[in-house]
Symmetry: D2
Subunit: 369 residues, 4 copies
C-alpha cells in the first residue's frame, strides 16, 4: 500500500508523486544517546561506513538516514563499494545515487550526510569521504584509486585492517602509507576491535575510526553497543567534521568501550559525571556512601583506589543515564578529624592507549568522628 490513507481525494498523479516521500508523513522517534561536549568542541556521533543496495547492502539509502535519526547519530556516510556490485544488473552501479537519494531525508531529519564510497580492491578496502565525484575510482588499481580519491579532495581511511589476516601493519600497506594516501584507520569495524594495529595507529598519528559497516537493516541486537566514531568538532557541519578528522580529534566507541586521547576522554568524564555528596561525616569502622550521577549514554566501569589507606572502595559500574550509590568502608583505625581525600578512579572501559586506561580524580572531604 502506498500509505497515504489520510488524504481524502487524490488523483493518481498526485498519489504517485506523494508516494515518493511517504515516509515524510511518518513519525520517527529518536533515542537521544546523550554525550557531553568537550572543551568547547561539539561531540558528534558518526558512522562513516554504511552500505545500501547500490553495492552489496540490503537497504535503500533513506533507511540509513532513518536508522541514524532513531539511534541518536548526528552524521553518516553511505559508502558503497566502487568495484563490487553483486545486485547488478537489477540495481544501478552509479555511486552518485545513494547520497543523492538520501539527502532530502537527511535534511528533514537533521542528519549530516557526508558523501563517500568504499574503495574496494580485493582484500584492500579504504573509505573515501567528502568525495563529490563518486565514480572516479572504478576499475583502478588500489594505489591509483587512492591517488584519484585524494586528487578529488577525499579524506581517506583504511578499513578493518586485520581482515582475513592476523592483525598487524601489513608490508603491502607501506607504499600507500609512504605516499600519505590515507589518514586514519578503523580501530573498530562492526563488533570487531583491531587491537593489533592500535599502537601503530598512535605512533603514526592516524585518526581513530569506529564504524558499523552495516549491510543489513539494523536489528535490535545490532543497535545495542553499535560502533560509533566520536568527532570533536568546532562546528556541527561537514567542514567542521573534516577539520576535526584532519586534526585527529576523534574517538572510537563500541560495546561500552571508548578509545581516544586522554584529553578528550577526561572531558567526556567531566561532562557526564557529577559527585552528589563530596563531603560528609563518618564513623571509624563505618562506611560512607558516595553518590554519583551520570547524564551520558556512556557507562563507566570503575576500579577505585584511595589515599589514605583507611578508606576502601570496591569496583563499581556507573550505568548510562543513571545514578549510583556505592559504600566506601572506613577502617577502625581511621584518625579522627577532617580529611581531604583523593579518590583515584581507573575507568577500565575507557582506553587512552594500548594497555592504558583513563584515570580521574574525585576529591572528597570527610570528617571522621
Amino acid at each position: 500500500m502506498i500509505r497515504l490513507h489520510r488524504f481524502a481525494v487524490l488523483t493518481l498523479a498526485a498519489l504517485l508523486t506523494l508516494a515518493l516521500s511517504t515516509t515524510a508523513f511518518s513519525q520517527h522517534v529518536r533515542n537521544p544517546l546523550p554525550v557531553p561536549d568537550v572543551e568547547g568542541f561539539k561531540t558528534l556521533k558518526c558512522d562513516f561506513h554504511l552500505h545500501t543496495v547500490f553495492s552489496d547492502g540490503r537497504v535503500w539509502p533513506t533507511v540509513r538516514v532513518i536508522e541514524a535519526y532513531r539511534q541518536g547519530l548526528d552524521v553518516i556516510a553511505l559508502t558503497d563499494h566502487d568495484d563490487y556490485h553483486p545486485w547488478a544488473p537489477h540495481v544501478s552501479e552509479d555511486l552518485m545515487r545513494p547520497h543523492e537519494l538520501a539527502k532530502p531525508m537527511a535534511d528533514e531529519l537533521g542528519i549530516i550526510l557526508i558523501p563517500g564510497i568504499e574503495i574496494t580492491k580485493g582484500e584492500w578496502h579504504f573509505n573515501a569521504l567528502f568525495l563529490e565525484d563518486r565514480n572516479v575510482t572504478k576499475n583502478l588499481e588500489k594505489k591509483e584509486a587512492l591517488i584519484a580519491a585524494k586528487k578529488h579532495g577525499a579524506f581517506v581511511f583504511w578499513n578493518h585492517p586485520g581482515w582475513q589476516r592476523p592483525e598487524r601493519w601489513f608490508p603491502e600497506i607501506d607504499p600507500l602509507w609512504d605516499s600519505q594516501l590515507f589518514s586514519g584507520i578503523e580501530l573498530v569495524n562492526g563488533k570487531t576491535v583491531y587491537d593489533g594495529i592500535y599502537q601503530e595507529m598512535m605512533d603514526k598519528n592516524l585518526a581513530i575510526l569506529s564504524n558499523t559497516d552495516w549491510h543489513m537493516p539494523a536489528t535490535e541486537g545490532d543497535i545495542e553497543g553499535r560502533a560509533i566514531t566520536l568527532v570533536f568538532a568546532r562546528t556541527a557541519d561537514p567542514s567542521g567534521i573534516r577539520e576535526a578528522l584532519e586534526a585527529r580529534r576523534t574517538a572510537a566507541w563500541m560495546g561500552g568501550e571508548v578509545w581516544g586521547s586522554k584529553e578528550m576522554l577526561t572531558g567526556l568524564w567531566e561532562g557526564a559525571v557529577k559527585v552528589e555528596n563530596s563531603s560528609g561525616t563518618v564513623a571509624a569502622g563505618g562506611s560512607y556512601t558516595l553518590r554519583l550521577s551520570n547524564s551520558s549514554a556512556f557507562e563507566f566501569r570503575i576500579d577505585a583506589a584511595a589515599k589514605p589507606e583507611w578508606l576502601s572502595l570496591r569496583g563499581s559500574r556507573l550505568a548510562a543515564q543513571s545514578g549510583m550509590a556505592v559504600a566506601a568502608r572506613i577502617a577502625e583505625e581511621a584518625p579522627q578529624g577532617s580529611h581531604e581525600i583523593d579518590l583515584v578512579f581507573k575507568i577500565t572501559n575507557f582506553h587512552t592507549g594500548p594497555g592504558e586506561n583513563l584515570v580521574v580524580n574525585v576529591p572528597l572531604r570527610l570528617v571522621v568522628e
Copy 2:
C-alpha cells in the same frame, strides 16, 4: 566489508562468489511465537503482503525472509506493485526477481515462500498469490488485470478495503465481486483494522486476511503486535496453504486481537490454555485461587461469569507464555458441600464476528466447608 574474516586465504574470485551468500554464514535467532495446532490442522503464521526495492519498498528481498525467520513466521509472499516503480530506472521493474532472489534464503531458513504481486490500479489494490508468471498484469485496467491473474492460477484478495475512504463495501467493487474475481479481504492491514467491512466479508464468505504491507525494514515497534494471517492447513506446504485459503480456514491476528471462526478460535484456546487446579476446597466467605497456564504467544483477556452466583471472579489477563493465578471470591452464603461449577469466560480480544466474542467454559469442582 564483505564479512568473511574467518577464512584464511581466498582468491578474489572466491571472495566475490562467497560474498553473494554472506548471510549464510551469520547466525540468526528465531522467536518461536508458539501457536497451537487445531483439530488436526497445522496452524501456520503467514504474511501475504510485503514489499521490496523491486517496487516502492526499501529492502532487498532476502531481508523479508530473514525477518520472517526471526519473528517466528512460517510463510511469506513478496508482493511488489505491478504498476508502481518509483525507484526505476535505478532498480529493475521485473517482478520475477524478488521471489527468485529470496528463494534460496527461504529454503535455508525453512520459510515457505509463496510467489505473488500486488495488482495496483490507482486506489484499487489486490494481491495475487501463487502467480508463477508475475509480469502478466502490467499496464492492464483493474478488471482485466484480475482476469489475467485468475487465468494464470492466482488466489486473489482485496487489500486495505477502506483506504482513503470510509470503510465499507464500495459500489465500484461490485463488478469484480459479481465476476468472482477475488476470494478474500484484508480485515487487517498494518496496524489498521477495517471493521466496516467485517460483516460483509462474513456474509459473502470471503477469506479473512491480516498482513503487514511493510515497505521499510521491520523495527522493534513494528514487530510488537504485527499483523499475521493464521492459516489452518492440512499440510505445511504451498498446496496445503492454497487449499486452506480456498476453504476459508484462516484467522487474523494483530496487536493482541484475533478474528476468526468460533471453531478455530475455540481450538486455539483449548490448545493453549491449561487449568492447573480444577478442583479444591474453599471456605464460605473466603476465596479460591484459580491457576491457568498459557503456552502460546496469544494473550487472553478474560471477562468471567459463573453459576452459581456465590462465586465471583474479576476480569483478568492471561499473558502470552505465562501463568496466572486469580482469586475467585466465595460469598458468605455459599452452601456447604460439593459443587460442579461452570466458569464462563468471554475472551474479549478473540472475535468470532462483528460485536461477538469467543466464549469458553471452564468446569470447576469445589467443596465448600
Copy 3:
C-alpha cells in the same frame, strides 16, 4: 548469609554489628527519572503513602528507602496504620520505629524522609505527615484523631476518597472539612484515579496528592507508571516541602498522566521540550518535518492544531527522554512568502482541571516557495 565475604578476618561481634548495616556495602543504581524545575521552584518527586511490616505492609522500612533511590524519588513518608496491626504480636505496633529504622539509610542515599502515619478509622483513612510523636492517634475516634494529629503539627490529607463507594464528596466528611482538619486529597492512589472528587478538590483549594500506598515490595509492573506527587518547593528539605504543601504547589503524576495547575504544567513543558527546527523552507503541496526533543521522564501526547489552515499536523506522542520528528503537511494552496505560524498543541495527558488539558504554543517561521 550475612553478606560480608569481602573482609578477611572479623570477630563474631564485629560481624553481627556490621550485619545490621550490610546493605550499606551494596551498590545501588538509580533511574534518575528527570523532571525539570519550574519557575525557580525545585520539582521534587514524592510518595507520601507507603507501608511496612509495622502495620500490614510486607517489607522492612529500609526497603522503601532503597526502592525510592532506585526509582528516582526524592522524598517518601512511611505511613503505617495507627489502628490496624494484623502482624501483631509477631511485629511491634510502635509507630515510632519505621521512620527511625529507615532514617540512616535515607541519609546515606540522599532520600528525604518525612515522618508520618495513616490514621485508620474503619473506612476513613487520612495520612498525617510531619508527625514527630506517631502514637498519639491510636484508639481515638476519627475526628478526635485528626484533632490530635493537627495539634501535634501534622499536615493531613484524605486518602483514596472513593474507596468502597461511588467517588464523590461524602456527607460524613463535612464535619471534618468544616473544622479544617485536612488540607489535601489523594486524587491518585495506586493505579486508581478518583476523578469524581477532582472538581470538589479544586473548588475547595485542597492539595493534590498522588501516592502508591504500596504494601508489597515494588515489582517491575508496579514501578512502570507508579503514582508520584510532584512538589514544587523553594528548598529541597522538609520545611520546603511543608511550605509547598500548605501553598498547594503540587501535581499528581501516574501512568503517564499529570494533573496540576496550568502554571506548573506549562513550566514542566517548557523545561522539558525543545523545538530543534523552528524555521525552514517548504514547498506548497509538500511537507515540513518538525523535530522536538524531550529531556524529561514525562511523555507528551499531542493533539495539534495550527493557523493558518494550509498547514496540518496529525496527533503524535513525544516519548520520555526522546526526540520526535513529525511531518506537517503543507497544502497546495499555501501562499508563497514568509509566514509566522502558531502551532497550538493540546497535551491530552496533562490535565489542568476536570475535562481541561494543557495547551501550549509553538511558534514557527516558514517560507513557502
Copy 4:
C-alpha cells in the same frame, strides 16, 4: 489502604478479617521458566535458602511465596537464622512462624514449601530442611546443633563454603563430615560460584545445591540468572524432593550455567533441543544451514566440531525458548555422495565436573552434489 475497593458494604470486622488475605484477590503472573523432565523424573526448580524479617531478611514470609510463583519456581524453603535476630525485639524470634505464615499462600499458588532454618554459628552456616520443630538448634554449639537437627529428621547442607576465606575444604569441617552431619554443599550461593570446593563435593558424593540466600525483596536484576537448585524427583511433593536430595539427583543453575551429572544434563539437552533439518543436500564449497529449536529456559553455548573435516561450524549460542539457524561451511574438497555426519557439540555452559563440559552428538545426513 487495605485494598478491598471492590466490595460494596463491609463491616469493619469483615474488613479486618479480609485484609489478612488481601493478596488472595490480586492477580499474579507467572513466568513459566520451562525446563524439561528427565528420564521419568520430574525436574523441579527449587530455592532452599531464603530469609524473612524473622531473622535479618527484609520481607514478610508470604513475599517469598509470591516471588517464587512469579519467577517460575516449584519449591522453596524459608530458612531464617537460628541465632541471629537483629530486628528483635521489634520482630519475634520464633522460627515456627515464617513457614506457618507462608503456608496458606503457598497452597493457593501451588508452591511446595519445605520447612527449614539456617543453623548460624559464627562463620559456620548450614541449612536444615524438613525440620518440623524449628527452634531446637538455638544457642547450641555448631556440632551439637547439627546433631540436634539430624535427630529431628533434617536434611542438612553446608552453606557458601568459601565465605570469608579462600574456597577450599576447611580442616574445621572434618569433624562434622566424619560424623556425617551434612549431605550437601552450596556450589552456588547468590551470584557466587564456589569452584574451589567442586572436586571435593564430587569425591565425597555430596548433593549439589544452588540457592539465592536472598535477604532483600528480589529486584529485576536479582531475578535475571538467579540461583536455582534443580531437583529430579520421582514425585512433585516433599517426600519426592527428599528422596532426590538423599539420592543426589540435583543440579545447580545460575547465570546461564548449569552444573550436574552427565546423565541429567544430557537429559536436559535432549528434552529441550530439536534439530529441525537433520538431512539435506549441499554443494561443495557452499554451506548448510542447520536449524535448532530450544523449548527450555536454558541457553546452550555451543562449541562445535565435526567429522569429516570438510564440514566446519563456528561456535554459536542457542538462546532460551528460541530457534537458531547457523551455517556450516562445506569445503571445496567435500566428496560427492551421501554422508552420515556426527556433529559433536561441546556445551560450554553445562558442567559435568571441574573443567569438564557436557558433550552431545547431533547426527546429520548430507548429500554433497
